[in-house]
Amino acid sequence: MPLASRPVRSPSRSDPQAGEQRDVAAEAPPDPDRVRSEAARVVRDPTLSYRQRVQQLAAVAENALPRPAVSEACRQALDDRVICDMYEGNAPYRPRYVLPDYEKALRNGSAYLELPPPQDLNEALWFLASMYGSVPSITGYPVYLGDLDRLLEPYVDGLSVDALVRALRPFWRALDRMVPDAFAHANLGPRDTPVLRAILRLERELKQVVPNLSLKVDAELTPDDLLADAVRTVFACAKPHFVHHEMMMRDHGERYAAVSCYNSLKIGGGSHTLPRLNLAEAVLRHDGSTEAFFETTLPRYVEATAELMEARIRFLVEEAGFYRHDWLVREGLISLERFSAMFGLYGLAEAVDELMRRGGSDGRYGHDGAANELGHRITRAVAAQVAERPMPYCEGFGGRAMLHAQSGIDSDVGVTAGTRIPIGTEPDLYRHLAAVAPHHELFAAGVSDILHFDETAERNPEAIVDVMRGAFALGMREFTFNLDSNDFIRITGYLVRKSDLAHVDSGARHGSTFLGAGNEEGAHCSQRATKRVVASERLAGR
């Protein structure tokens, strides 16, 4: 493919702010020499597997194209790193996150894959495995593997948990080997079933990075002893992550799933893109009072983020035409009507602390009532503006973007993920939860706060169940915890084995392990104070 620049259509504006002049200019393509040197580096990198090289070469090629055109103000915000496109690539040709309706596929079969509807458990497993290779996402691998307990339930026909463990074991191993990416996510629950129990047992036995796992927790439908079983599973392999089922259903309806790292989206839909706004950087670029920040600087950067989002969505939908030709669309397994886009936020803690400092207070986010209230005011202001801002091709969320507390990427240094409290400074459990919980209802597309427990929890999983039930009653959307003593570390939402991290210079089988290495160095997440957090995810084409 020639590296020549393509004419990029000016994004049409839904509602430019009155009086503001927007100059829209296509960017010059990257220097061909730089493209060649990048490609040359990738093909020689001894730490990359064959497939990892192929993926990175694709990213080099994509980034040889110009980025979608945006206004000068948006470009400046990008250059200043106040907003960020998450390295999704210059020319979006597939949605960031895709959640196929696997249930429909199993029911109807697939003409594209030339597969009839499966008739038994073995056929169902092979059907799914055959499908995963053709599910796109930003990572090149599927980020959603299905609500596997519910999908498989029609085929188990009264099999015991023991029999199910035997039947599922090869499939479960294959998931980790075929989809070597920790963002690949399976969902379970909220109902207690033998398949679910078998999967938890397999997770404890196999201790794999893939799949990432979420358990939907319903106050009525999910029994305590299932939760205790899931908590024991976390002790073994740092999974699953727990989501507040009723809250998710209020935002997305029954057909939703948690994918990648803490992204809650509609099944049969997904998210086009995820630009993010660095609140800490926004405050540093602000000159004036806190009130002025709310009146001018914050709205300006929220709009810049929305503009970047709109430009990328329009390219994906109108230029790349993904939703016109992909097989998942043709077979009705996804539809544009169930898509929206994710508006990411991070660095709230640093933003609040800086505004407090300028106001003459040393109150810090997570510890001080006024600081916490300022943090809540910031997220409420962003949420209100995003809820007012029409976004094209986002009928999956009423024509609007969905808020997401972005949990970080490996290049973040000195900026705290999403709305979390900085690592190592978290207050005690109850104050921690009380500080962060008020944000959660605003973040329909996911938010995460990782809690840390010491190893005494292993003898008392019911205590973690107590804390989880309390956290959900308090309004937490999701609940994730780590235990000091196992081999896994949850970097930002995805998992890395500490033992893999130690050898990363010589290559790793999971692409996400490299991301973990960068993040671990930058954010010290393996040095978390006893109970607590940090994070991130970065994906994308590099």
Binding site: Y430, F453, N460, E462, A463, D466, V467, R469, G470, A471
Partner: protein, 303 residues
């Protein structure tokens, strides 16, 4: 930890505390979140004062009630202690928690206790009730303040928002039957220590007889109120195979199926008298567990 700050007072004899102006508890500390004091997540209250004087005690400053001698006042660097009328008054707002007062105390006590009503304690529980399976009173020896414990548990039981919380007592077992009778209607379960089955060994380790401990174990087991028996493991003192076998046989006879927790002695926090004791290795603890298990002890937890 936040507690009611009014009338912070130490030095009152327990007898003074109980009858007047309703029942009060002398509280050495509270934990809003504990994973190790009974089933689920629990709010733990440590009550001051103990009937034993264990060489292996991890928080010896809870053994005695402050006698008001005032030695600690002079070592307080923040002026948070004041001797007045035979008592030592403590100001928690200026205290930095350096524990110099506890280190110098000649009486295995602390001036940093708080006198709380059952209602004040219930208010602390209410703040975090969303996250709890229940509450535990510990010590010190909680049953020394049984009237307060009873009033506290009654207040929880009669509160519609808090009645679902289970109410446990963590005890050294050295309490008369009348104490357990007082607590029976309001208590869901008790966790009892058995430092040694042999009377002589028990006396070496605790300074007291174990007759009431054994009677308590038997009584609570018969009432279905014995949640757990804790066996402290001190190498060379109470970990001989035959002692353990007889202990297991005793427990399976009087409290069949009871959960047994084996706790290896740790030097952390003990007084000089206890630091001469040795800690069991993981292998030693595992061997003790194997001996107990072979004798038919049911649910066994090794810490």
């Amino acid at each position: 930890m936040t507690v009611a700050r009014a009338a912070t007072l130490s030095g009152a004899a327990l007898a003074d505390l109980l009858p007047r102006e309703g029942v009060h508890g002398l509280v050495a500390g509270m934990l809003e979140f504990s994973l190790v004091d009974g089933p689920g997540n629990r709010f733990v209250t440590f009550l001051q004062g103990c009937t034993f004087d264990c060489v292996a005690c991890h928080n010896p400053y809870t053994i005695n009630v402050c006698d008001g001698c005032g030695v600690c006042v002079s070592v307080c660097t923040t002026g948070s202690l004041e001797a007045r009328d035979g008592y030592v008054l403590w100001n928690p707002d200026t205290c930095i928690g350096c524990d110099a007062c506890i280190e110098i105390c000649p009486s295995d006590s602390t001036p940093k206790t708080q006198k709380l009503t059952p209602g004040q304690l219930v208010d602390e529980v209410r703040k975090v009730a969303l996250f709890l399976s229940g509450v535990t009173v510990s010590g010190g020896e909680a049953t020394m303040q049984a009237p307060f414990v009873r009033a506290y548990f009654e207040a929880l039981a009669s509160d519609p928002e808090l009645a679902h919380l289970t109410r446990f007592v963590d005890s050294n077992g050295d309490a008369p039957r009348s104490t357990w009778d007082l607590l029976e209607p309001v208590m869901d379960g008790a966790m009892l220590d058995l430092k040694a089955l042999d009377g002589d060994v028990h006396r070496q380790l605790t300074g007291a007889s174990n007759e009431r401990v054994l009677a308590s174990i038997e009584l609570l087991a018969a009432r279905g109120q014995l949640y757990e028996v804790r066996l402290l493991l001190v190498p060379g003192r109470n970990d001989a195979d035959d002692q353990l076998r007889r202990t297991a046989a005793y427990l399976t006879r009087v409290a069949p199926g009871v959960r047994v927790k084996v706790i290896g002695f740790r030097r952390h926090g003990v007084r000089p008298v206890g630091s001469a004791l040795s800690e069991p290795t993981a292998e030693r603890s595992a061997r003790a567990a194997a001996v107990l298990r072979a004798e038919g002890v049911g649910e066994l937890v090794v810490v």
